[in-house]
Subunit: 498 residues, 2 copies
Amino acid sequence: MSEKLVRLKEILGEVSDLTHAAAVLEWDQNVGMPAGGAEARGQQLSTLAKIAQEKSTSDELGRLLEDLQKEYPEGESEESAMIRVASRNYEKARRVPAEFVAERALVTTQAFEAWVVAKKKSDFSVFHPHLEKIVELVRRYITFFPPADHPYDVLLDDYERGLKTAEVKSIFQDLRLKQVELIRRIGSVGQVRDDFLHAKYNEQKLWKFGERIIGKFGYDWNRGRQDQAPHPFETSFSVNDVRITNRFEADHPMATLFGAMHEAGHAMYEQGINPSYERTPLEGGASLAVHESQSRLWENLVGRSMPFWEHFYPELKKTFPAQLDGITLKSFYKAINKVEPSLIRVNADEATYNLHVMLRLELEISMVEGAVAVRDLPQMWNEKMREYLGVIPPNDAKGVLQDVHWSGGSIGYFSTYALGNLISAQWAEAIRKDIRDLDDRISKGKFDDLLGWLRGKIHVHGKRYEPQALVQKVTGAKIDAGPFMSYLEDKFGGIYGL
Amino acid sequence: MSEKLVRLKEILGEVSDLTHAAAVLEWDQNVGMPAGGAEARGQQLSTLAKIAQEKSTSDELGRLLEDLQKEYPEGESEESAMIRVASRNYEKARRVPAEFVAERALVTTQAFEAWVVAKKKSDFSVFHPHLEKIVELVRRYITFFPPADHPYDVLLDDYERGLKTAEVKSIFQDLRLKQVELIRRIGSVGQVRDDFLHAKYNEQKLWKFGERIIGKFGYDWNRGRQDQAPHPFETSFSVNDVRITNRFEADHPMATLFGAMHEAGHAMYEQGINPSYERTPLEGGASLAVHESQSRLWENLVGRSMPFWEHFYPELKKTFPAQLDGITLKSFYKAINKVEPSLIRVNADEATYNLHVMLRLELEISMVEGAVAVRDLPQMWNEKMREYLGVIPPNDAKGVLQDVHWSGGSIGYFSTYALGNLISAQWAEAIRKDIRDLDDRISKGKFDDLLGWLRGKIHVHGKRYEPQALVQKVTGAKIDAGPFMSYLEDKFGGIYGL
């Protein structure tokens, strides 16, 4: 290895260490930090971020990358992939002035606090001036980059590199009409029964049941743990320390099981990345959408499938005999797949979920274009909810204020959720070609071939390939809504007898 | 505030943030990190330490301190105290070459691993070559500093700044003879009964009981938490986030209660430091010995006293009616204060504890002087054990290999444990002058005056005063073994009817 490459890896390794250290601090903040610790923790995180930023934008790093790009020209090798990703990160980071980063940190801290109050009071006017500042910041941010086909491309690229606004719009356009139509058809027939899912379930038992499931999936407990937190999330400190959090909500007890499967899907991805990418820019998942394709695959395509419950339902029934008394496997399967247009994205079922995302994407694009004033958002939100889902939020807390993302300045993020759904169905089609008896294996509680396939085709590569190139490489196609829509038609056609 | 002082505080604040971030990572490592995470965690800690070291020894920091020393000459103000402490830290850090720091990290990492094996196998020869390297490193370390009265002074100063080898020796010399004599007298009369302390106690209930006690002491749960770890310790991430760990051992169930009191003593100290010292070199306790004086005061002078159990024993008996059936308060009090020369320092009682420390101090001084070869340590250890305590370790695991400190390069640390005991008795004498009805208050479960006294006289000052100056300021005397010896004579004279 050239001396310059060694030095490059040293610098990037330190940046990775700082980022992982910050992740530990954030994990602790969510999992167990005493209330008093918040202020100091904010300060510590800010210092770690500042030092990582300095190291990520140093002149020395720029010179090294410039020289190394010549030494390792664009190609298939791991070194050139690493230098390519590092160079892009560097170029992007250098374009954003330090004062802007500091200003954004300040604005979003205040905006987050305002959002918490606004949501609690269900009063958009509390959040309104902060969101205006954020939109202004985001539009300013875009100006730091070369002109794109669409200004929103710049934002998308931060979450899903290489993806264009026009592409997402085109993928979603047709899908939206089809999903709306499917929901309409489902709404025209009788609803399934799911009252038994809302009985009283023992928290501890559900928690343990979820842990058994994800252990069988292949989540490696020697390199992970599950803790309680207000919101479920996955976080990695190393390929060998990938943790998940979960919660129990008495109103939605089963969410504890599906939350565990979802986060374990993310976590198994991280646990499966090539260990030699540790402390390099190739560590971590390829993109947010690819990440979400893993969590949704395990949560929905596996965890809400009939073969899966053929294996696990007898055990669940034994664990909760009173709650599931007289409930057949088929009734249970239908209940956990109930489709019902509702107000809150995070609780949405598979058939309606993407529509929540599309609504947000359209509003974001309008904000960035300046085509909509922030004060008009609540009304536009409600109109689109009626149009896509046929429901109208009774208040802004259950409408435009429901998600935290905008308060943190994250504009451009949402579409990765829906893209993850689409890609998960694309993987599933490819998997079924290679593992013909997949359903049979799942119904026997065997997941090693499935995980092995995902590991070898997707996980191991980390960030080595661009997300869209990875989809193309594995499935032979671009990101495409077709497989997902077929999956929905097939699954819910069966459940609702359409 | 001058511009230079602002900049100084900025740099030192970042160093503090890095140190606290590392403390969070270490806490996690002890409390919950999955086994797989160890290697990456070591790397992350090493990067944080390296950056903190760079920032602590930068030329810019040196120039700032030089200028500011002139601007704020030695005096009573907080600024001059901060600059004094910062300057001393800087000067010490600059004397130690970076390569030496790296070499020491490597040697101690290997030595620690060897010590774990050696202790497990009870085979000193496994640890022997590593300890030789450590002694060599320590002697080299001493040469980086100006010649002192005794080379060991340089090491002592790292743990108990300003303290001289001659002083410690002189304090311990007389004390040792008196403690040995006390133990001899105790050994010549009948032993107290303590079999009921080794019955089967419910872990959960003991844990909760300990939490109730330290909550009553004044440990602030909004700024802290207690977790399980292999060894009890206290760690601070901020004055507002001070955590303790504890453990349950079926063989010594009561250790869970006394461990909680001990660590809470450390933690209340940290929680009581002037918040304006946060992120400056004045944060944290004055010294290790002063810190230990707090933990020992709460654990022993309060927690093993008759008035304390007058209040808590009825509740303990209600919690464990079977185990304590027929055991009077007096019997219980005697049992938890049983004196019995034994092999292991951390399990030693109040009357014998210091002798374990003195033995280690004498061996360390001999090693530093080159007066003893490492290979002769086990034999010397055993001889001194016989001389001071009348017991001989059956093997090295229960002898020279029992403590972790030397494997980490910590030579110079041990005496602070014994000094903490001495100082705790000095505080107690001073407290009794100000709070005449202290015992009466304790017997009513009231600790607010006691904690208030410690807060105002000791805690709030952080590192503002030198440790020995603080003892002098509060008690009017130097560190002195007199009060501690009187306390022992009085307490154990009573218990054993001497």
